[in-house]
Symmetry: C2
Subunit: 202 residues, 2 copies
DNA sequence: GCAATGATTGCACGCCGTGCAATGATGGGG
DNA sequence: CCCCATCATTGCACGGCGTGCAATCATTGC
């Protein structure tokens, strides 16, 4: 039973990735506005109807895939005792960075997605939605760490602020030439830390 | 020339508001998924085709309207000499609060929009896009204040962080019973300020 | 009034997103 | 080994969306 479930799940993820790859490939090749769901389906070797079993729209297929906090890093984050907000915020920064390294599927993919989002408002909307879902996940983690009920202000604020350098850093990276987004994001995180405690960069 | 331009512009804004009102009314009455562009057009007394001259989608009509920084408050913000980031961030908070008071069209409207965004991902996407455009405007203001070129990291980061309490506060307010969103947002801004300089609430 | 500019509208067309029902594959139990 | 349950895939059909185009209509400036 568990084996089969896992198998099905893996197959599902696999098709999902194939659809995403097909969508991204065709979008960069023919331009996003000439991209249709039929084209993506054909390229991915599935039917049009099946496409919609995986993604709600072609924009969703481009952005593709919820960001998930890696289990070990999340556990480490939750294990820290301190509930001091600034400390939690810093630890959230570390958690997000570890998420980035964990979910580094393909730098070129990520850059292509950001480029499409820059040029097409519908893709941007999908990307923002994805970030928003991620932010909620981060807020829940922060709430657990703080020992407050989920949905309260402080964890939501911390999540939003902690994600800010990631959003800004990734956006800037996508416009530049650097291969790896990591350094840019780390620089932006450092910028935020400077705001919190000016002039104590070790 | 200017008189006519102004007149046309005013008429345009007026129809825009009418369409928005019609969309929101029908959405709360019949439910968002039974809402069609034809219904909105009929309610607003225009043709279907004209609707799309004003809004790109029914979601856009629901969210309706870019947030614009009020000119006087913006001038006051830019007039301050200090380029110290934390100071700029605090002033941005004040700027955003003044924007909120300026653009308080109708509290019930705003709450209805947030409720729709909560329940329908497409509306949420439109709302997030609207916030994103606003964030860029705020970032440009911050860049001018800092005397750095627009599109650099620091102003973008400051804008993102400054908007955070507004987003979080408005979201929380929309779930509660309070009539006026102002106090909730101010409380969340105060929470952010506490992060920056713990324990100096005047 | 007349010309120009711009707003409104109807039409047509292709694509989107989904409910439904049939079909196909897969894996577990007799 | 076969059958059944379960779930994924597919085709079909239908209403709604978003837009290019061209005609019409109103407003404004001369």
């Amino acid at each position: 039973m568990p084996a089969s479930e896992d198998l099905r799940e893996r197959r599902r993820r696999q098709t999902e990735r194939e659809i995403h790859a097909a969508a991204l490939r065709l979008a960069t090749e023919h331009g996003f506005d000439h991209l249709t769901v039929d084209m993506i389906s054909a390229e991915a070797g599935i039917s049009r109807r099946t496409f919609f079993n995986y993604f709600a729209s072609k924009e969703a297929a481009i952005v593709a895939g919820p960001r998930i906090l890696p289990a070990e890093a999340l556990a480490a984050f939750l294990a820290v005792e301190s509930s001091e907000p600034v400390r939690v915020l810093r630890d959230l920064g570390a958690l997000l960075l570890s998420e980035m390294t964990a979910n580094l599927p393909d730098r070129d993919d990520l850059r292509a997605v950001f480029a499409l989002a820059e040029a097409h408002t519908s893709v941007l909307a999908a990307l923002l939605s994805s970030f928003d879902r991620f932010e909620h996940e981060v807020a829940d983690a922060a709430a657990r760490r703080l020992g407050v009920p989920p949905g309260t202000e402080l964890p939501a604020l911390l999540a939003c602020v902690a994600i800010a350098p990631m959003r800004v850093g990734l956006h800037r990276w996508s416009l530049g030439d650097a291969v790896d987004p990591q350094p840019q994001v780390e620089r932006t995180v450092a910028l935020l830390h400077d705001l919190l405690a000016p002039g104590d960069t070790p």
